[in-house]
């Protein structure tokens, strides 16, 4: 959900709303007057500088041959050598393909499922029933990925897993859902849908609740069936929310699902499961190729940055407010 922010977050707004009286006093006095506010801010600022900005500086290691005992400065410069290696490595195409496929599955399966679920919930008139169902479908969102993947391991496992036990009884034999690479993507999508599809309806339901009920009354006076009302009143009313959430999800897709995929990837399904961040972890943390993996990480961050800005620009094109 971390993509939706009000436009109040725009940093330029303060310049407009600064009181004219305050502007007359010299800056030093105004700063001294608010010394307590700066003091309050200090721990937070230090956090952002140390744990967010110093690592950005540390990205320089992607252009060096970083050796921990030498430190960042003393390590030898190698220019774009790590990037050249990454782009010519066969893994590059594999990572790109896996990431794009999972993102596409997310957009064509997960996203429509949340909308349909929200529309169906919206058609329920008895609020007790509606609230009960909502209470049920929000639960999985709050489980950790370890628990969700753990539950899938137990239920879909080949030894004692209930799904395979049923398949066996029906005479289909066992299916190796967890290590067979053909089942990797369906499992990922199924987990995503089970964990977050219910929760994904929250924003849509809020938007649906805001639709003017006069529109429905007028439509039904004109003899529109519920299906036509859905098509001509409901969907146009929430179109802007759908567009902006779709675009933002697209913009974030490189970071999407890392915690989940990290748990699901193993030696047998790496070919279809490895994405940029799992590759960075394996090559960097486990094999100790710090500079090379930092270069991969930098490439990923840069692409993600362009995607988010592009998505925001697109959202504005569609007449939405945009986010940043």
């Amino acid at each position: 959900m971390s993509q939706v922010i009000t436009k109040d977050a725009l940093p330029t707004e303060s310049a407009v709303s600064t009181p004219i009286v305050a502007a007359k006093k010299p800056l030093a006095i105004r700063i001294w007057k608010e010394r307590w506010l700066y003091l309050f801010m200090l721990p937070g600022l230090l956090y952002f500088i140390i744990y967010k900005y110093v690592p950005m500086w540390g990205m320089l290691m992607a252009f060096k041959n970083y050796q921990p005992h030498l430190g960042l400065w003393a390590s030898e410069w190698v220019g774009f050598r790590h990037f050249e290696r990454f782009f010519t490595e066969p893994e590059f195409g594999m990572l790109l393909k896996n990431t794009v496929i999972i993102a596409v599955l997310d957009l064509v399966i997960f996203f429509p499922v949340t909308i349909i679920l929200a529309l169906m919930l919206n058609e329920i008139r008895k609020s007790v029933f509606k609230r009960t169902i909502q209470t049920f479908v929000y639960v999985p969102h709050f489980l950790s990925w370890v628990v969700v993947v753990g539950i899938f391991y137990i239920i879909f496992g080949t030894e004692g897993g209930i799904i395979n036990a049923i398949l066996e009884k029906l005479g289909f034999g066992t299916i190796d859902f967890l290590t067979d690479s053909e089942w990797f993507r369906p499992m990922i999508v199924l987990q995503m849908v089970w964990k977050d599809a219910g929760w994904g309806t929250v924003i849509f339901l809020a938007a649906l609740a805001g639709v003017d009920s006069n529109l429905y009354e007028a439509a039904s006076m004109d003899g529109a069936s519920r299906w036509r009302q859905l098509w001509h009143v409901t969907l146009p009313s929430i179109r802007s929310v759908i567009v902006i959430l779709l675009i933002l999800r697209l913009g974030n897709f490189l970071d999407l699902g890392f915690e989940q995929i990290f748990l699901m990837v193993n030696a047998l399904n790496r070919e279809v499961g490895e994405v940029f961040d799992t590759y960075v972890y394996r090559v960097g943390m486990q094999q100790g190729q710090f500079s090379y993996s930092a270069a991969v990480g930098l490439f990923k961050s840069a692409v993600a940055f362009v995607l988010v800005l592009g998505a925001n620009w697109l959202a504005k094109k569609f007449g939405e407010e945009g986010v940043y």
């Binding site: 939706v4 922010i5 009000t6 109040d8 977050a9 940093p11 330029t12 707004e13 709303s17 600064t18 307590w36 506010l37 801010m41 721990p43 937070g44 600022l45 952002f48 967010k52 900005y53 690592p55 500086w57 540390g58 990205m59 290691m61 921990p68 329920i124 009960t132 169902i133 049920f136 479908v137 929000y138 999985p140 709050f142 489980l143 950790s144 990925w145 370890v146 628990v147 993947v149 753990g150 539950i151 391991y153 137990i154 239920i155 036990a165 089970w194 924003i203 809020a206 938007a207 039904s220 069936s225 519920r226 929310v241 748990l263 960075v280 972890y281 960097g284 943390m285 940055f305 986010v323």
Partner: protein, 284 residues
């Protein structure tokens, strides 16, 4: 006119209710199945005999109880630290006349767009001496930029007259924050406290990245080892063979215990989270 429904409409309603009921059951059943089977003595499809052996076993294993303590400690301390830092910073940034405010806001926003990535961050955590310490699970993610901005907007929505009149009466900035702003924001603070607590309780990757001492593993990491890596027993590796029943019920018991705090908090979560999401949404 509106009341009269066509046959098609009625059929749709029946279908809709049935389908949603099914969806609700699918959302719950896997977890219910895990809970029920964790108390079952046999590994049959339909549980027959009630037993708490699996729970007795995991609580007798030192590794597991320790990891629970780690998780509880990190969640309590972490939630407090994160909430305190976020509140202080959000409060300062909620003053629109503060010199340099837009610069600081920009600083926060940039971190939402661009990050140094896993490897450089790892070295910063290492150099600040947090590796293999429980603080590594708290400090490197101390403030969520997204929650900070929402909290700032929330503080900004508190009428300025309240703060100004207190200041005219000579109240200190600390007094304004603790006696006026925070008490007025209690519902929002409860919501953000829950956000942070669930986030910390559920995190596992930071622990894998920054902690190599098994005595400091939080429960999620133990769970991952136990089920996904299937690294065998949680206690002594020799003791697993003396366990008479299916090892799966141990895995299930661990899942249940690791999820219990979330289940207990769930009624509050549902109420606050939905509001929290809308608090920050575009036009709810």
């Amino acid at each position: 006119m509106i009341e009269s429904r066509s046959l098609g409409s009625k059929i749709f309603d029946i279908f809709n209710h049935t389908f949603l009921l099914l969806v609700g059951l699918i959302a719950l059943l896997p977890f219910v199945y895990i809970v029920v089977t964790s108390f079952s003595a046999t590994s049959d499809l339909i549980p027959t005999k009630f037993t708490t052996e699996a729970y007795q076993y995991i609580f007798s294993a030192d590794t597991f109880t320790k990891s629970l303590l780690v998780s509880v400690f990190v969640t309590l301390v972490g939630t407090f630290v994160q909430l305190a830092l976020s509140c202080l910073m959000a409060y300062s940034l909620s003053h629109t006349h503060l010199p340099g405010r837009s610069f600081f806001l920009m600083m926060v926003l940039i971190t939402m767009l661009f990050s140094g990535g896993m490897i450089p961050t790892y070295f910063v955590v290492q150099q600040t001496g947090l590796l293999n310490s429980l603080w590594a699970l708290i400090i490197p993610n101390a403030i969520s930029a997204f929650y900070l901005i929402i909290l700032k907007n929330f503080f900004q929505s508190i009428p300025g007259e309240l703060k100004e009149s207190a200041k005219i009466d000579g109240a200190h900035e600390l007094t304004v924050l603790f006696r006026i702003v925070l008490p007025l924001s209690l519902p929002a603070l409860a919501a953000f406290g829950l956000f942070y607590a669930v986030g910390i309780w559920n995190q596992y990757f930071n622990a894998i990245l920054y902690i190599s001492d098994p005595a400091l593993y939080p429960v999620q990491v133990i769970l991952r080892q136990l089920i996904i890596l299937s690294s065998g027993a949680i206690g002594d590796s020799s003791s697993i063979e003396t366990i008479p029943y299916h090892g799966q019920s141990i895995q299930m018991a661990v899942i249940v215990v690791a999820t219990l705090p979330i289940i207990i908090l769930y009624p509050f979560l549902q109420k606050h989270f939905a509001k929290g999401v809308l608090l920050g949404s575009v036009k709810g």
